[in-house]
């Protein structure tokens, strides 16, 4: 066994790093570094740059326009992007609906949608959760009734991330209320411009507009926008969730956040000495560092297994649970490090374009981010759901 990267992999890392140093717009990295929200245009600008370089669809096979990277290369790319303060790629198109279309879509769907995703022509959002269907996703109630060549869709979706910018929605709907709950679900692609769609913002506890409610009122969706057979939407949904969980541990982000924490805690003084030298505080940082070391090796083990074609199972649940807990702990420590400076709240700076004085700007995001990070143990299948998955599928309980 060895944990070292090959010379080729190290050369690839250098190539990625050089590209990022050259291609990332400064105003965007500055927003990421300060924890400010990105405007739709920031995302699009960055994704266009990646698209031009052929690196947007890191997970796609070559035949569809992906770079044909190995799992190790994808891992290196993610790490470098996080370290360079690159924006996260909006995953709903390129990393979520695209694999479903590749696996279950018709040739016409592939031909139409995949190039548009690759060129950032469509902004996708996810229509999964409903007010009555969270962890119990298969209990969803949005109805789709066949009317000739169309489905008439009625219902409500929620927690739709960045839906305010999206022009396309992939959506789980109930096409057969008589069937057993998983069996009556279909997977539809819906144009957000269709009459009957209303998007309403949900403001989260950090004051951000990140998620939305989407109301569907007699929305007409052409039958050819269904992916897979009618009633087989659950298969697509589960397939997508395994892709969603890959990389959900966000270890590149954790590494970057920990770096930031250590830098903050060495600058801030406690009784004349860097806070990082306060034993009780330092111990928590040390433990976070060790947990991250363990997660990074676990992640490499998953990647090495993927290289041999195995699909991550329990390990992705593990990475999700422990990765989210770790990122929450780091955000907690960063907030605490600031002391009283964690109290002021400047939403117009964080979420808008209002400027803020240098020192205040550096500290503005910590508390809001702490509250925002609570989502990590809830989305993508709550951590308790992950544990039940492991208990059932791996331990046979």
């Amino acid at each position: 066994m060895n944990l070292t990267f090959t010379p080729e992999e190290r050369a690839f890392r250098a190539e990625v790093r050089a590209f990022l140093a050259d291609a990332l717009p400064n105003d965007i990295t500055e927003r990421v570094r300060l924890g400010r929200y990105l405007r739709a245009d920031d995302h699009t600008r960055w994704q266009n740059i990646l698209s031009k370089r052929g690196w947007l669809a890191a997970n796609w096979p070559k035949e569809y326009g992906g770079p044909g990277w190995s799992p190790v290369q994808r891992h290196i790319f993610d790490e470098e992007c996080a370290a360079a303060h690159a924006p996260s790629i909006v995953p709903f198109g390129v990393n979520m609906v695209a694999p479903v279309i590749m696996k279950f879509g018709t040739d016409a769907q592939k031909k139409h949608y995949l190039p548009r995703i690759l060129n950032n022509e469509d902004w996708w959002c996810q229509g999964y959760s409903e007010p009555g269907a969270g962890s119990d996703l298969a209990g969803l109630n949005t109805r789709a009734v066949r009317d000739g060549g169309h489905y008439i869709v009625n219902g409500q979706k929620t927690w739709t991330t960045l839906g305010q910018h999206a022009n396309m929605l992939f959506c789980l709907v109930r096409t057969n209320p008589q069937a057993k709950k998983q069996a009556g679900i279909s997977f539809l692609l819906i144009d957000m411009q269709s009459p009957g769609i209303t998007v309403r913002p949900i403001i989260t506890l950090d004051g951000a507009h990140e998620v939305n409610e989407v109301f569907l009122d007699n929305v007409r969706v052409p039958v050819e926008n269904r992916v897979g057979e009618e009633g087989e939407g659950w298969t697509c949904a589960k397939f997508l969730l395994t892709h969603e969980r890959t990389g959900i541990a966000g270890l590149g982000h954790a590494r970057q956040a920990l770096r930031h924490l250590k830098s903050v805690a060495s600058q801030i003084k406690h009784r004349g000495k860097p806070l990082l030298e306060l034993p009780s505080f330092r111990l928590r940082v040390v433990k976070a560092e060790i947990e991250l070391m363990a997660l990074e090796v676990t992640n490499l083990r998953v990647i090495a297994a993927a290289r041999h074609g195995s699909v991550p199972g329990a390990e992705s649940s593990l990475l999700k649970v422990r990765g989210s807990e770790l990122r929450q702990e780091i955000s907690e420590l960063t907030r605490r490090a600031l002391g009283p400076a964690a109290l002021p709240f400047f939403p117009a700076f964080l979420y808008g374009d209002e400027p803020l004085d240098g020192e205040l700007a550096l500290r503005a995001a910590a508390s809001a981010q702490y509250f925002n990070r609570r989502k990590l143990s809830i989305y993508g299948g709550a951590n308790e759901i992950q544990k039940s998955i492991v208990a059932k599928t791996i331990l046979g309980m």
Binding site: M1, N2, V72, L295, K387, S388, M397
Partner: protein, 371 residues
């Protein structure tokens, strides 16, 4: 980056796992523990035949040149069966120290028979006043062609079975020296006992013990002992992984079998999630153990940083898993008769060998990269 075992390593793992499963049942283990120290066991002879005694030593010393991964495989299998053989304390640690810090004549006399299974040794490096550090109050002074040692070494593993003991002592130069002291040397007193987790050990009292000049193996052993202890810590992590695996397996089997309220315990969500937490700790500890096993040949600072992180992490996980295993077994987990209780004891006490979590967290803290 490669996590795969070679064909030879896979074979080693299978052979040893089978051997341990066949020869170390709870009953057989009890018998082995009751055997007087110093008698070579059947199992140790089989280890010799399988080449296990040669495995961790370099080829130029007559060994098989095994690396950290080989050692990990062996220790994990031993930990899985709670095997009461002093593979680490009686062979690997003293043997590696001899390999690093003695001359070829000394190696011919002490190391070669060790590899052939003709005797076992012990390493007396620990003193109560130094806790887990290597400094020694025990002193050595030179008188003509001889050395005289005085002091007390505490919790020396495998003491009773050792033909000779490697002893660290502070020299007149202030450096840490290393001596080999045959067990029957006049002035050597041993107070032997078993540890709470069934390991044979003892305290060693040296009262004006005189040894010839060629029994001084090194006049500055600090770096070598750091290297050997690092290897020992990585090996202990691997052993703990085996013990954690067996503990998790036994606990899961018990939850599936035991019924209360008309249902198997495994059907209760509160218990399912505890069981999953045990597995999360185990999986993460596996990663840290691999990190430790692959760090042995790094420069000392990096090696010690990573191995300290692994030992700290595995120590916490081992205790967590032990406590959960007892809790999930309920009252039966408190009994001497319940095999998992012995695993739990070993897992908790694992933290007390070669530095506990607090000790190693400090090492990581000292080496923490800030920028």
């Amino acid at each position: 980056m490669d996590f795969a075992l070679t064909d030879e390593q896979r074979m080693l793992e299978e052979t040893l796992t089978r051997l341990v499963a066949d020869q170390v049942s709870p009953q057989q283990r009890r018998t082995m523990l009751a055997t007087p120290a110093g008698e070579t066991s059947e199992l140790w002879r089989t280890f010799a035949e399988l080449g296990l005694l040669h495995m961790p030593f370099s080829e130029k010393l007559g060994g098989l040149g095994g690396d950290g991964t080989d050692l990990m495989i062996i220790m994990r299998a031993l930990g899985k069966g709670l095997v009461p053989e002093a593979y680490l304390a009686g062979l690997v640690l003293p043997g590696q120290l001899l390999a690093l810090s003695s001359n070829s004549e000394q190696q011919a006399r002490w190391l070669a028979p060790l590899l052939e299974g003709e005797h076992q040794l012990a390493l007396a490096w620990q003193e109560h006043s130094a806790r887990y550090d290597t400094f020694a109050v025990t002193t050595a002074s030179q008188h003509g062609n001889q050395w005289q040692l005085s002091g007390r070494k505490d919790v020396v593993m495998n003491l009773a079975a050792a033909a000779a003991i490697l002893v660290t002592a502070t020299l007149p130069s202030g450096k840490l020296g290393l001596f080999i002291v045959p067990a029957n040397t006049p002035g050597v007193a041993q107070h032997c006992y078993h540890t709470i987790d069934d390991q044979p050990a003892g305290d060693l009292v040296l009262t004006n013990v005189t040894v010839p000049a060629d029994h001084c193996l090194s006049d500055d052993v600090s770096d070598a002992i750091a290297e050997v202890l690092a290897m020992g810590r990585a090996a202990l992590c691997a052993e703990a992984i085996g013990t954690m695996e067996a503990t998790c397996d036994q606990t899961l089997a018990y939850l599936k079998e035991r019924r209360q309220f008309g249902l198997p315990l495994a059907s209760f969500q509160a218990l399912q999630h505890r069981m999953v937490d045990m597995h999360l700790h185990l999986e993460q500890s596996r990663s840290m153990t691999i990190l430790a096993a692959t760090s042995l040949s790094l420069p000392a600072r990096q090696r010690d940083y990573k191995i300290a992180a692994a030992k700290a992490y595995c120590g916490e996980s081992a205790r967590f898993i032990a406590e959960q295993a007892i809790q999930l077994h309920g009252a039966i987990g408190m009994t001497e008769e319940c095999y998992v209780a012995h695993y739990a004891k070993r897992l908790v006490m694992f933290d007390h060998y070669l530095g506990d979590s607090d000790y190693h967290l400090e090492t990581v803290s000292d080496g923490l990269q800030v920028a």
